[in-house]
């Protein structure tokens, strides 16, 4: 007869070993193991309510703290407004011929996809990875590998589309999303200005780094980066962000870039899911 205490010890050891094996088995590929269970379907609606409450809190806190800065900001903005009015005429002329318009046109062309509007209901509680869940699932036709994007307003007032990530697992009324700055995510990209292409990967500290397939000659900080569609996960010409840093690799032949995403991943709330038929 084994004693009560010993039994618990034994169970914990066996469970620990089993879990270690499970980690190894489930990590390669999608963890579809638990999709059939009703776990997520019950918890997801509750999380949705709490997440909305959190959003309200966060916004009101921000406005509370910013009151003291408002006057200072107001003066600065007035000055800036006059300056910008002058520049505006010149800018209009420039924009007509620039890449920005071309990019926007391409994006509009690509919005023929069927999409679902969705809200983020919770985020990975840990501090290591950037994953979150959304409130649309298989009941709305969301499938694994669907693309998640966000509409954003830039300085020029153009509502471009920014890439957020892709859906990895789908439940009945919720889905897991992996962001492009997650360490397990990689995206093939194109530089809009000169069509150089390569692969972007997330880093542990939340930045996005990329390398090129071949030698590149003409790269500038601020170049716009879009998805290239290679690999057939992401559709082509989704806006990712701008190059913020260029570094030579150790062999001095190719370059490594850091991309500043168009999206603030900390403040995501509403996203769109593009349904791609593959």
């Amino acid at each position: 007869m084994i004693k009560h205490g010993k039994l618990i010890n034994l169970t914990v050891i066996i469970l620990a070993l089993t879990l270690l094996v499970t980690i190894g088995v489930t990590t390669s590929g999608h963890s579809t193991f638990f999709e059939g269970t009703g776990f997520g379907n019950i918890v997801a609606p509750i999380q949705k309510v709490f997440y909305s409450v959190g959003q309200i809190f966060s916004n009101s806190f921000e406005s509370l703290f910013s009151i003291s800065k408002i006057r200072e900001e107001n003066n600065q903005l007035k000055e800036e407004l006059y300056k910008i009015r002058d520049e505006n005429l010149d800018m209009k002329r420039i924009i007509n011929n620039s890449e920005a318009l071309k990019l926007e046109y391409e994006i509009i062309q690509n919005m023929q996809y069927d999409y679902v509007k969705s809200r983020i209901i919770s985020r990975d509680p840990g501090n290591w990875f950037g994953r979150f869940t959304i409130d649309k699932g298989s009941s709305d036709g969301v499938k694994p590998d669907d693309i998640v994007i966000e509409a954003i307003a830039t300085d020029e007032g153009v509502a471009k589309i920014g890439l957020v990530g892709k859906v990895t697992d789908v439940g009945y009324n919720w889905a897991k999303v992996i962001a492009i700055n997650d360490i397990n995510s990689s995206v093939s990209f194109n530089v809009v200005r000169n069509n150089e292409s390569g692969v972007l990967k997330g880093k542990i500290d939340g930045i996005i780094e990329g390398y090129f397939f071949s030698m590149t000659e003409d790269l500038r900080i601020g170049d716009e980066v879009v998805t290239s569609g290679l690999g057939e996960v992401y559709v082509p010409n989704l806006f990712i962000g701008k190059i913020s840093k260029i570094e030579k690799t150790s062999d001095l032949l190719t370059e490594e870039i850091t991309v500043e995403p168009a999206i603030n991943f900390e403040k995501l709330f509403e996203v769109y899911i593009i349904k791609v038929s593959r």
């Binding site: 620990a16 980690i23 918890v43 509750i46 509680p125 501090n127 869940t133 897991k176 542990i204």
Partner: protein, 164 residues
């Protein structure tokens, strides 16, 4: 039995709060780990059986929703709950400092095991250097939230005259 059911409900509530509201109050991109703190306080007050099962419960929820490989958080939280429950017989658990030591050690233990497992799952070894600052910030935040959690625990114990 009824007491344990309440504890499970509290753990689930903490998990929901953790994944929804708490990340709006990130400092330097780091969120406090409420689940871990509450788990340690609960395990210290009860025994290893309750501690381990609370850890498993929250760990499973965490893994189902957010982890690509199932089991990492379940394993770590189960071990933390088990060990704090086991040691609770030998320490003076009513003392705040005991809870504080366990929280500090628990935070370090969590990230250490997390890193070890992910190292074998092809994570770069240098990532621990990036994470070092975050871990320290998280530890400070955990200690800050431990005090209210500890007081709430004391309040419940006195109000409902619960004995463990």
């Amino acid at each position: 039995m009824k007491k344990t059911a309440w504890l499970f409900a509290i753990m689930i509530l903490c998990f929901i709060l953790q994944s929804s509201i708490i990340h709006f109050f990130r400092i330097n991109g780091v969120a406090v780990n409420l689940v871990l703190v509450v788990l340690i306080v609960v395990s210290l007050q009860t025994n290893e059986l309750v501690g381990a099962s609370c850890g498993i419960l929250v760990g499973i929820l965490w893994d189902v929703f957010y982890t690509s490989g199932f089991g990492i958080n379940t394993l770590i939280l189960m071990l933390i709950g088990f060990v704090s429950g086991k040691l609770s017989e030998r320490v003076y658990k009513a003392d705040f400092l005991t809870n504080l030591y366990f929280t500090v050690l628990g935070t370090v233990f969590y990230h250490f095991i997390f890193f070890i497992i992910h190292y074998f799952l092809k994570l770069e070894a240098s990532s621990i250097l990036y994470m070092g600052k975050s871990i320290i910030i998280e530890m400070v935040l955990n200690i800050m939230i431990l005090y209210p959690v500890y007081r709430v625990k004391g309040y419940f114990l006195r109000k409902y005259k619960v004995k463990y």
